[in-house]
């Protein structure tokens, strides 16, 4: 929670010095805080539902207790993904929701925002897509502990990867390295798309109606989340093949 507030403070300060992030990208202060709130919601979903389980999975591999999970007549990935819910991470998401509501109200006083009965369901749907993609990334990261023996850096890796999806994609769309990053985190690991699309639904940084590329990107977000789910499933299965069952 404190991290979230700090993050908010950082951008409060940044927006004292600039009006927008990315020239003509439309990410003014209120728009950006809607984006930030979206990130908090996705993060808190992941941390509530999967983070502890992924860490537990690493531990199961190290101790060899994964044997018991493998023997059970239920899909292993399902079994290790959902046993625990870490409620303590939920407040961040609620905070994110509040930040979005507040920023949206401010924004509506400034300019016209297109808002219909579909906005909220669409927003939630793409948040869901976001959670799916981030879940896939986490499963892949956790699976690496089968090969590495132990993955103490799971949280670090997680932090470093999510670091790339915490900003509007416009900031990357420049120069060689930036385009490479943008391409990687859009098409290979689609984490940028899933943070940007839900935020764009509410914030509409470029106004309404959406530009055609925004529609394309939204469609791609759905394909991307399906593809990453399949990829993570494949990585998980491959990793299981190398499981040597320590200490048993």
């Amino acid at each position: 929670m404190a991290w979230a507030v700090m993050n908010w403070g950082l951008f409060k300060i940044i927006y004292r010095h600039t009006g927008e992030i990315g020239l003509d990208s439309g990410w003014h202060e209120h728009e950006f805080f809607i984006f930030l709130g979206t990130i908090w919601i996705i993060n808190s979903l992941i941390q509530t539902l999967f983070m502890a389980n992924a860490a537990e999975f690493s531990e199961l591999i190290r101790t060899g207790n994964l044997d018991f999970a493998l023997l059970k007549p239920i899909d292993t990935q399902f079994l290790i993904s959902f046993p625990r819910i870490n409620w303590s991470q939920l407040p961040n998401g609620i905070l994110g929701g509040m930040l979005i509501a507040h920023s949206l109200r401010e924004l509506m006083q400034e300019r016209e925002i297109y808002f219909s009965v579909f906005s909220i369901p669409a927003f939630l749907f793409f948040i869901g897509c976001g959670a799916v993609v981030m879940y896939s990334v986490m499963i892949c990261l956790a699976s690496t502990s089968i090969w590495f023996g132990r993955n103490q850096n799971l949280y670090n890796f997680w932090f470093y990867i999510t670091n790339f999806y915490r900003y509007p994609m416009e900031i990357y769309q420049r120069s060689g390295v930036g385009m490479a990053l943008w391409g990687t985190f859009t098409f290979v690991v689609p984490i940028l798309v899933v943070s940007n699309i839900p935020a764009r639904i509410l914030a509409q940084p470029l106004g309404t109606p959406w530009k055609s590329w925004e529609w394309g990107l939204a469609a791609y977000a759905i394909i991307g989340s399906l593809w990453s789910l399949m990829a993570s499933r494949w990585v998980f299965k491959q990793a299981l093949k190398s499981y040597r069952s320590a200490s048993s």
Binding site: I13, I14, T18, G22, S25, Y160, N163, F164
Partner: protein, 286 residues
Amino acid sequence: MLESAVIWWTFFKISINERLIYRADFMLGTLMRFLPTLTQIFLWWAIYDVISNTDTTNSGTRPDGNIAGYKYGDMVAYYLLVIISRAFSSMPGLTGGIANQIRNGEVKKFLIQPVDMQGCLLIQRLAHKLVYYLIATLPFALVFFLCRDFFIEGWPPPNALAVFFASLILSFLLGFYLECCIGLIGFWFLEVTSLTFIYMLMNFLLSGHMFPLELLPAEPFNIRQLVEYLPFKYLAYFPAAVFLGKIEGPEMYRGLLAEIGWVVFFIVLSRILWHRGIKRYSGYGG
């Protein structure tokens, strides 16, 4: 005298070996540490484009606006230099470690053995840090070489460079004794996690870890002025600002003196806390 030197040397050697176990992991970890800086570069690029109202997306030039005296290059250079300051001043696990030892009674060994607790911990940290620098030099050099263009002014004058290095070493001592003091509060509170957390927050916001302190607002209340009177800025901001020439001349030396003052203050404070603490200590646990 000689005897205690031998003891310290042994501690030192053990700690060095401890750290050399996972070399490859270490180097990779160091490189990963620069990833957030990569996004920072792009974030600030996007911001500076707006400030200077130029679109430098594919022109190969840099936006030339400035924020609080920092040009785009300065800003990136600042973030890179802060990583160096933090490599000296951050002490992961020190506070918690001390408090744990107090809680579970391990601290008893320092009451029985003729070794000083702070001295012992300091030697261990020193060894860990030295190994870290040894291994991290390569990735650091690589990253700084790739980013050399961001250092618009080039190398600072020799006296600033000397102050830079001195302030880094001092920031190591400051970080160590400051966190030591917080850990030693464990004699009274037993659990210092929340204190550590508050410290970490302050450190993040007020040390210049997140952004150059010049960006802090002067109103509604003057945080910008406040941080001048706190020890935090020496943990990240000060060395970087000296290197970039943001602080120079007499002000630079004054800053260095103030840093020395803070180090002495926290050394004395930690000795006092330790002596008061062991009087209060009741030795729970086995």
